[in-house]
């Protein structure tokens, strides 16, 4: 039963989508219950997965392997480690919450749920793929549902240029402006998203194909490739092959993360998307980038990662500061949250770049934490939009009288986003900052500044939406009163605060995934060392570090364990 958990998590949404095809749109309740039911199965299975995952044992667990194509060396190889498990959980929580957030969709509700379920299932598929082919397969599969969700149920952004205009200055998204043509339509946002992501995805595919070719193993299996592929020291085009592959894979996947300067599709897409889609998009879709980099670049090219990861450390500063400032000046609720997400994803890159136990664990926990926080914010921005049909912050105000529950939740969302103690974001942020300080002090200072900026723009938005004089035009707006409307927010708040207070299991799980990876990267592990696929992890992962010790003590302990990762000639 339990060993098939990944199948339940992955295929429940797919089967739900399939089942919905045969249901008529004239039975809205049946449509919603099928969607919610399949998401619920997935959620329950992933909660089981999260608690049944054994952090002491570590490594990849719940492995399922089905031969898929002998000729191409592809198998549907599923399995989760300590990094995938929390992200799978985050995906299913956001999917379940997203279905309730979009409970009131009237127009073509059936199609909406079909695409939402496919989007979530594809995302989940990436988090559990142990085969490069299927990783790409699910990754690319998640893009097209986004197009339809944005295009069909999204909303136009009105007067985008004026909104980001402050005191006559054209504070446009300068890099994003390359393809921006001044267009604010949802069609434009959707097309931009698909073309950007596909363009970068094919770069990653090229990297994957190069790994396939030069490993000479005739397989796409990550576990085999990371043990047996020898891609080092092959001279190509004046550099070495592993660097080319790494660059292709890194930038290919970093576009969805979105790392500056490849971010410009993202806020536009967030703004156009319906609430549930924004939640999934910002909550989990963006993490596909980090996760795929970890899975492909970190696992298969550890030495190159150690050498080239400073690229991410440089770019993440721009991500953090740039996203923060644009969010500060933006006057559209979803732009603020969208840019804030893209800024916060810079922290994850910082944590990844520092490459030690603490910072990388922090990065993974941050992905989970950010999914909850940004999910809340998007859900509430969606609620406000549904009530007032505007996202223009200056025209809103004083809504706290009309919607006390939403405004209270919004404060919690802001707190979580900022990283208040008591939320899981705090743990993640502190780990990233503490972990990265030795190696990248400048970036840490920038990240601190980013936190201050986050505080500034979120409070500014909160004041603009909920306090101050009320615009009488929106007198009809009302609060989320029914259980269906409150449930998604309550779930996300509970998870965020729950893990903030009791982070031990989450932390153990993440550490069990991160430790072997960091050992692999910071120590020179001879390639093709032993036959056993999990041998390396078991041998080195858990002997040194007690996993279930208090966090802060452990942090100090582990930081000293960092093996000269900081020195680069």
């Amino acid at each position: 039963m339990g060993e098939y958990a990944l199948f339940y998590i992955l295929f429940a949404p797919f089967l739900g989508a399939l089942g919905l095809i045969f249901v008529s749109n004239r039975q809205p309740l049946l449509v919603r219950s099928i969607a919610a039911g399949s998401a619920f199965i997935s959620l329950i299975a992933s909660i089981y997965l999260f608690y049944a995952y054994d952090p002491v044992k570590g490594g990849f667990q719940f492995i399922q392997r089905i031969e898929w194509s002998r000729q191409l060396g592809i198998s549907l190889h599923l399995g989760v480690d300590g990094i995938g498990t929390p992200l799978v959980l985050a995906s299913t929580i956001l999917l379940f919450a997203g279905i309730f957030v979009s409970w009131h969709i009237k127009d073509r509700a059936k199609e909406f749920y079909i695409w939402l379920l496919i989007l979530a299932a594809a995302t989940i598929g990436v988090f559990m793929s142990l085969d490069l082919f299927f990783l790409y397969f699910f990754y690319e599969m998640s893009v097209i549902p986004m197009y339809l969700l944005l295009g069909m149920w999204g909303s136009h952004t009105k007067k985008y240029l004026e909104m980001t205009d402050s005191e006559g200055m054209k504070l446009r998204d300068s890099v994003g402006f390359i393809f921006n043509f001044g267009s604010n339509s949802k069609e434009y946002a959707a097309m931009k998203l698909v073309l950007f992501l596909s363009a970068f995805a094919v770069a990653a595919l090229m990297g994957i194909l190069l790994i396939y070719k030069y490993s000479g193993l005739n397989t796409f299996d990550i576990l085999v490739l990371r043990e047996h592929a020898n891609l080092m020291n092959i001279p190509v085009l004046g550099t070495t092959l592993d660097k080319i592959i790494w660059i292709l894979v890194f930038f290919g996947f970093a576009s969805i993360a979105p790392l500056w300067p490849m971010h410009s599709w993202s806020p536009v897409g967030h703004a156009a998307a319906p609430a549930a889609t924004s939640m999934l998009h910002a909550g989990v879709l963006m993490k596909l980038g980090h996760f795929s980099i970890i899975r492909v670049a970190f696992e298969i090219l550890p030495e190159t990662t150690r050498e080239l990861m400073p690229i991410a450390a440089v770019l993440c500063m721009f991500s953090i500061i740039y996203g923060g400032f644009v969010a500060f000046y933006a006057k559209d609720t979803k732009y603020v949250i969208g840019y804030s997400s893209s800024s916060h994803m810079g922290y994850v890159f910082l944590g990844m770049a520092a490459l030690n136990y603490i910072s990388l664990s922090g990065a993974v926990i941050y992905m989970f934490a950010h999914a909850m926080a940004t999910g809340m914010l998007f859900a509430m921005a969606g609620w406000v939009y549904d009530q007032t049909h505007t996202r223009d912050i200056p025209s809103l105000g004083g809504l706290s009288n009309k919607m006390p529950f939403i405004s209270a939740c919004f404060i919690v969302g802001c707190m979580a986003s900022i990283g208040m103690p008591g939320t899981v974001n705090f743990i993640a942020e502190i780990m990233i900052i503490v972990g990265s300080w030795d190696k990248y002090p400048l970036q840490v200072i920038v990240a601190m500044l980013g936190i201050v900026l986050t505080l500034a723009y979120l409070f500014k938005m909160m004041r603009g939406l909920f306090y101050g004089p009320m615009n009488q035009k929106y007198g009809h707006a009302h609060d989320a009163v029914s259980t269906v409307d409150r449930l998604p927010l309550l779930i996300m708040i509970t998870v965020s605060i729950g893990f903030g207070i009791f982070p031990m299991h989450l932390y153990d799980v993440v550490r069990s995934g991160v430790d072997p990876l960091v050992v692999r990267i910071t120590e020179v592990v001879p390639v093709a060392q032993s036959g056993s696929e999990e041998g390396v992890q078991h041998a080195v992962g858990h002997s040194k570090i007690p996993l279930t010790s208090p966090i802060i003590v452990d942090e100090v302990a582990a930081t000293s364990l960092q093996i000269s990762g900081g020195e680069r000639e």
Partner: protein, 498 residues
């Protein structure tokens, strides 16, 4: 070369599918002649019955591993021939089913339409078995003859007449090139059978001869320097004929290209790889970029077809057994997606009467089924997982990267992104824009059947490709005799083409 014309029964067995279909064709003509009042759709179903019977016969061949050669190796029945015959018959069945409704637009000769379609199919079945330049020529012209008539079947429509004329003039020109090429090759080698040319020396006459033959076949598949007839002919021809033209002759010409490049010219691979790389890059890029500017769905599919052929040529340029596997697999994926897409075009134009892309506005509201089917077909053509087209493209890329064709793969990958744009433009019209006239679209039974088959093929091949890859790997086993794993260098490569 000795011709033995005393055919035994077992020899005739190899020709059974063709003989069966020819007899059936005569039956269809006779039925049409003796009972003129019979509704014409009965003729369609009668033809389909014959085609299915032939398919059954081929399935038996496939299971019983029937193979052999006839007429001094002019006609071979190997695994690949069986594959392509099944492919062509499948395409023909789908095209006939999607014509049932459309045929009412023709003012005259409605019964003969089916006869001509089946006749072309017989010609292409012979092409699949042709192992000799002469039999290639004869069967190629035989199948094209039917198409000349079919393309201009809408007698009152100027566009259809123009399409027919253009196709005819360029087709005859290509035939002339082909014949001249054959004469040069024969003059240089004294051989007509492919497998016996493999030891030929690279003389200028031979090179020019094969270039001419390649040009003629390039005309059939619509690769770029020879593509100029494609958009106008696709646009003007009756849509089911366009669907037929877009898939079956390409398959039939590709089997010949495979036999020429991988058997007859196997030892010249280091030379022709440049030619194929150049043609492939130009085809993909030109097809995709020009497709962006199209306003008519048939023209869009025409240009996308040019680009798809560019993709197929990547597999040919790989020049390995795996490359040919990938081509066969790609063609399967392309068959379902392309015929499916044209079936939707036929269904929509039956209701609206026009084929412009803007007529697809709000198709999702008018017919969710048609819009969803079209979405999947277009995405499969674009190469989006989990659809068949994605696996096809990946298969081709994997085959090519094993041969180190990095430039080609890079261009191919970039082209996926370009193509995504114009396919999504159609998706946008169907899903995002609101319809001007929201009346629902009715779909006839046979049309629905074609679309269901297309959907099933597109999804099943994409999600569970193993049986299909097994099939194509089995179908191209013959090439492993001619292809050594690492193609050895030719002593003095003469540079041709790119």
């Amino acid at each position: 070369m000795i011709f033995s014309l005393n055919l035994s029964f077992s020899d005739l067995l190899l020709l059974l599918p063709e003989i069966l279909l020819t007899c059936w064709l005569c039956l269809v003509i006779t039925v049409d002649f003796v009972s003129p009042r019979l509704p014409k759709e009965q003729l369609a179903y009668l033809s389909v019955a014959g085609l299915v019977l032939t398919l059954g016969c081929l399935a038996w061949f496939d299971v019983a591993h029937v193979s052999g050669a006839l007429f001094g190796n002019m006609f071979v029945l190997d695994r690949m021939a069986i594959f392509f015959k099944v492919f062509i018959l499948g395409a023909t069945i789908l095209v006939i089913l999607s014509s049932v409704e459309y045929v009412n637009r023709f003012t005259l000769f409605r019964g003969e339409y089916y006869v001509l379609v089946v006749m072309s199919a017989i010609g292409m079945m012979f092409m699949a078995s042709a192992n000799d330049l002469l039999s290639v020529f004869v069967s190629l012209e035989f199948s094209t003859l039917g198409f000349y008539v079919l393309v201009s079947y809408l007698r009152e429509d100027m566009a259809s007449n123009e399409a027919g004329l253009k196709f005819f003039i360029l087709g005859v020109f290509a035939a002339g090139l082909f014949a001249y090429g054959i004469s040069l090759v024969y003059g240089e080698t004294g051989q007509l059978v492919f497998s016996e040319m493999s030891s030929a020396q690279a003389t200028p006459g031979l090179i020019i001869g094969f270039l001419l033959i390649f040009a003629a076949l390039g005309f059939k598949i619509g690769a770029v320097p020879f593509h100029s007839w494609i958009p106008d002919t696709y646009h003007g021809a009756p849509t089911p004929v366009t669907a037929f033209l877009s898939i079956a002759p390409k398959g039939a010409a590709l089997v010949i290209l495979l036999r020429i490049f991988l058997v007859a010219l196997a030892s010249f691979k280091p030379v022709w790889v440049y030619l194929l790389v150049a043609v492939s890059i130009v085809s993909m890029t030109y097809g995709n970029i020009v497709a962006i500017a199209q306003r008519n769905i048939k023209r869009l599919l025409a240009y996308s077809g040019i680009a798809q052929i560019g993709n197929v040529l990547i597999g040919l340029a790989a020049g390995t057994k795996m490359g040919s596997d990938a081509i066969l697999f790609y063609l399967l994926a392309y068959l379902f997606a392309n015929i499916g897409a044209f079936a939707v075009v036929i269904a929509v134009s039956h209701a609206i009467g026009r084929d412009e892309i803007e007529d697809y506005r709000g198709l999702n509201r008018r017919s969710p089924f048609l819009a969803f089917a079209m979405l999947l077909f277009l995405l499969s053509l674009a190469g989006v997982p989990p659809l068949a087209g994605f696996i096809g493209k990946l298969y081709i890329f994997v085959a090519a990267i094993k041969e180190g064709l990095y430039t080609l793969i890079t261009v191919g990958l970039i082209n996926i992104v370009i193509s995504m744009y114009y396919y999504l433009i159609v998706v946008k019209q169907m899903y995002i824009n609101e319809p001007i006239d929201p009346s629902p679209i009715r779909i006839s039974g046979p049309m629905k059947a074609v679309i269901y088959v297309g959907l099933a093929g597109t999804l099943v091949i994409g999600i569970y490709p193993q049986p299909f890859t097994d099939w194509v790997v089995d179908a191209t086993l013959m090439f492993s005799n001619f292809l050594t794993p690492s193609a050895t260098a030719v002593p003095s490569p003469v540079h041709v083409g790119g």
